[in-house]
Structures are given as C-alpha cells and as structure tokens.
C-alpha cells in the first residue's frame, strides 16, 4: 500500500478523482440531455394547455394531459401561436408562428422568457409569445410570466380573455419551501385567480395582488383585484403579484389594439 499521507500521492489522487468524476458527470449529462429536453418541452405544452383549462383534473387534484397525448392535444387545442416584438412600451411587430420560425427556427412556445427579460434589460427588443385557444366558445390568450419568489425563480402561464379577465392560471417554482411557498402550485391557490380582472373599468392596468388579511377568503368577490394569500409564504406571494403586474402589463397594448379593432 502506498503511503497515503505523501503530498505527491494527495495531488495525484485529487487529479485522478477530478478527471474521473468530471467525465462521469459530463457523460451522464450529455447522454441524458435529449430525454430531459423532450420532457421539458412536453411540460411546457402541458402547462400552456392547463392554463387554458385543458387538463384531466379531478376533484382537488392537478392532472395534466398525459404525455402520450399531449403533442396531439397541443396541436389542436392551441389554435394559433403569435409572437409580439416589444420595445420601449410599445409592440413594434406582430409575427405569426411561421414568420417567427423562419427567422429564429424555434417554436414560439419554446421562447425562453428569462432570456427575453435579459434582452429587455439590455435595452434591446424582446419577444412576447402569446398562445390562442378556445374556452367555452370564446378565444382565450395564454401568456407566460416569470419572476422571483423567496429562494429562486417562479413562473407560470395565465389565460386571459379579450378584456384581460383571467380564465385560468398555472404557477410553478424552482425551489420554494415545501408546505409554504411551494403551495402556489396547489389547486386552491391557482383556481382563485379564475375570473379576476386585470383592468379597471376605465381600462387602466391594475394587476392582481396576493393579499394578506383579505376579507374574502373563499374568493367570491371577483372585482377586488385581490386573491387570498398563503400562510407563511408572504414573499413568494409578493413575487406572484409582481410577476403578474410586470409581465402581463407588457401585453396591454395588444389587448387595447384588439378592443379598438372590434
């Protein structure tokens, strides 16, 4: 047995270990990447459909369209994908899916919201994807949102009708506290958003606040611009309010335009 206390042995051991572990991890990551990508792609489709109200929910549970059916349901459920190019408070260009894919060669629903937020921060234009579908014979528009909770990123999809009234919401998070902030992806929290308005009667954007000490815990009042907060998850709730206000406001010009046209 070699003397394991010698400096030369320690250095060699460390070097070999780093090479072995490094290549093992790199190999695992590289060989599993296609599967992981595919899973993430399906999850996005499931989330968008969920926000539209297309899901296999039972009483109290959250069930997405199953993985073997999701591609087919997505292609029929989402009737149109459009991309809005946004710069300095205005929408400068509206693109159809084909136009966008010709220029960027990715599907609009795969647009990385985080990257687009960074682009906006750098003063560049950003792409805002919007997915159209039908709910109770009316068109709904699903928009992605993204923000920060207590520990890490939170994101979601919100379905709106033409008056910017919420017709469905899905939230998810990367690392919120289980039992507290992580409950933003529970039915009882997400369902509260249904029917809430984003605009005042005069058409000014107000957003929805996740409010503590709400007088309306069963959430029957739909024009108070508030939903009931989660116990012990103040900062995550504030994050949800903030991302709704910030990200959905970007779509306001599109909806105003829609109203003027009709």
């Amino acid at each position: 047995m070699a003397n394991t206390d010698k400096n030369s042995y320690t250095v060699i051991f460390a070097t070999v270990m780093v090479i072995v572990v490094g290549s093992l991890l790199a190999f695992t990551a590289a060989s599993l990447k296609p599967n992981i990508k595919e899973n993430e792609r399906m999850e996005k489709q499931q989330n968008i459909l969920y926000a539209m109200g297309i899901n296999e929910n039972e009483e109290g549970s959250i069930n997405f369209i199953s993985e073997d059916k999701v591609a087919e349901v997505f292609s029929t459920g989402v009737t149109e994908q459009i991309v809005l190019e946004y710069k300095d408070g205005a929408i400068v260009k509206e693109m159809s899916r084909d136009e966008f894919m010709k220029a960027n060669s990715i599907e609009p629903y795969l647009i990385d919201v985080k990257k687009q937020q960074t682009r906006a921060k750098e003063g560049k234009s950003r792409f805002l994807p919007l997915f159209k579908g039908m709910q109770d014979n009316k068109i709904v528009y699903v928009a992605p949102i993204r923000g920060v909770g207590l520990w890490d990123a939170i994101w979601g999809y919100v379905a709106l009708d033409k008056d910017m009234v919420v017709r469905g919401a899905y939230f998810d998070h990367k690392g919120e506290t289980p039992g507290l902030g992580a409950n933003i992806k529970q039915r009882y929290f997400m369902d509260d958003f249904y029917g809430e308005k984003l605009l005042t009667d005069a058409g000014v954007f107000k957003g929805i606040t996740v409010a503590k000490g709400n007088n309306d815990p069963t959430n029957e009042i739909k024009d108070d611009y508030e939903v009931d907060a989660l116990t012990g998850a103040t900062i995550t709730g504030d994050g949800v309010s903030a991302m709704i206000k910030k990200d959905l406001k970007l779509y306001l010009p599109y909806f105003q335009n829609l109203k003027n046209k009709s």
Binding site: M1, T4, D5, Y9, T10, F13, A14, M17, V21, L24, L25, T28, A29, L32, N35, I36, N39, E43, W151, K174, G175, E176, T177, P178, G179, L180, A182, P217, T218, T231, G232
Partner: protein, 215 residues
C-alpha cells in the same frame, strides 16, 4: 440463521432509538427545520436520504484505504454531490414528475450534515456491508423524526395530512372548525420544528435517563 447478525442489527436499530442522529447526535437539524411543514415532503426527503446515505457510505467505505487523509472531507463532499447529481439527472430523464417534486431537496441532501458525519465517523473505518447498514440505519433514524415532526406540523398548522383535510374545512367551517377550533399558523414556521424536536428529545430522555448527560 438470521439474516443479520446481532451486531449488524444494532447498526440499524440503534440510530432509531438511543443513538438517533437528530435527537441524540443533533445532526441534520437544518433540513429537519426546512422541509417538515408538511408530511409528504418529510416522507420524500426521508426516502431520498436513505438512498444517498446507503450508497454514499458504501462508496466511501470501498475507497477508505486509498483516500488521502488530508483531503478526505473534500473527497466525501465530491462523492455525495456526484451521487445526488447523477440521481437527479436520471430522474429528470426518466421520471420527470418525480424529479419536479424532489427539485427543492437536492441541495438540502448534499448539505445534510448527517451524511458527512457518517462518512467521517463510520464509513472511513468499516467494511462496505456494515457501512451500508449503518447508512440505512441512520437515514431511517433521521426519517422517523422527520415524519413525526411533519405529522404534527401539518396536522396542527394546516389541519391536513398528506394534503387531505382531516379536521374539516376551515373556510366553510365544518368538522372541528364548526365548534371554534382554529389552525395554529405558527406551526408552519420553522421555529416550531425546533420546539417539536425539543419535545421529542424531552420525551426520549425522560423515558431513558441513561441518555441524560451529567454536568
């Protein structure tokens, strides 16, 4: 012949009672505070830790004669971190919904001091099979406390167990809530986990005075 010798059985049963990692060795408190607000998270975390500790202990034990003592802590850290990352990647590729549930725990497993503690205290000096049993035993001991704490925090804090409303509906006032019972929202906050763990330590030591340190 019994499946495990008497000495081996002790490796599993000791950490469950008189040498519990949380209540006696006071290790792994951080994750016990963080994730016990609901029972389901406690159970998931327990299973994940059983897996990582069992295999981590075996790997370290197999390497025990070649690890340079000067950098042994770093080596231990690399072993547990790689194990956790590989498991996380495999789950992401083949069991995506499960990996979403585990997402928040991955970081907590790596930093769990019970794991490093057992590597250092046991696996470095013992053969693989005994190390495996020791890892499983300690992870079970950790899990038992986690589940007890999670049970009380979820029941008293939210009135639910595994998400089911066992005490009635607090908003429509049915079940216990009809006679004026209220959830104690305080139970959902981390400090209450410490108090529950304290109560468990109290019960355990008053049942077995041999565990009380003398001053």
């Amino acid at each position: 012949m019994a499946l495990l010798s008497k000495k081996d059985t002790k490796l599993i049963t000791d950490p469950l009672t008189d040498n519990n990692p949380i209540t006696i060795q006071v290790l792994g408190i951080c994750s016990a505070l963080a994730i016990t607000a609901e029972l389901k998270a406690s159970i998931v975390m327990s299973i994940a830790v059983i897996f990582v500790m069992g295999f981590g202990n075996v790997v370290i034990s197999l390497m025990r004669n070649v690890i340079p003592s000067k950098i042994r802590i770093i080596v231990q850290l690399i072993v547990v971190a790689s194990l956790v990352i590989i498991v996380d990647q495999v789950l992401k590729a083949f069991a995506y919904p499960l990996s979403k549930t585990l997402g928040a725990f991955v970081g907590l497993i790596i930093t769990n001091c019970i794991i490093m503690g057992r590597f250092e205290a046991f696996a470095l000096a013992n053969k693989p099979w005994r190390s495996f049993l020791d890892g499983i035993g300690n992870a079970l001991g950790y899990g038992v406390i986690l589940i007890i704490v999670g049970f009380f925090r979820e029941l008293l804090g939210a009135g639910t167990l595994l998400g089911y409303q066992v005490l009635g509906d607090p908003i429509t006032k049915t079940g216990l809530y009809a006679i004026g019972y209220e959830n104690n929202g305080f139970m959902l906050l981390s400090p209450m986990a410490l108090i529950v763990v304290g109560l468990i330590i109290w019960v355990q030591r008053s049942r077995n005075p041999a565990l009380v340190e003398e001053n």
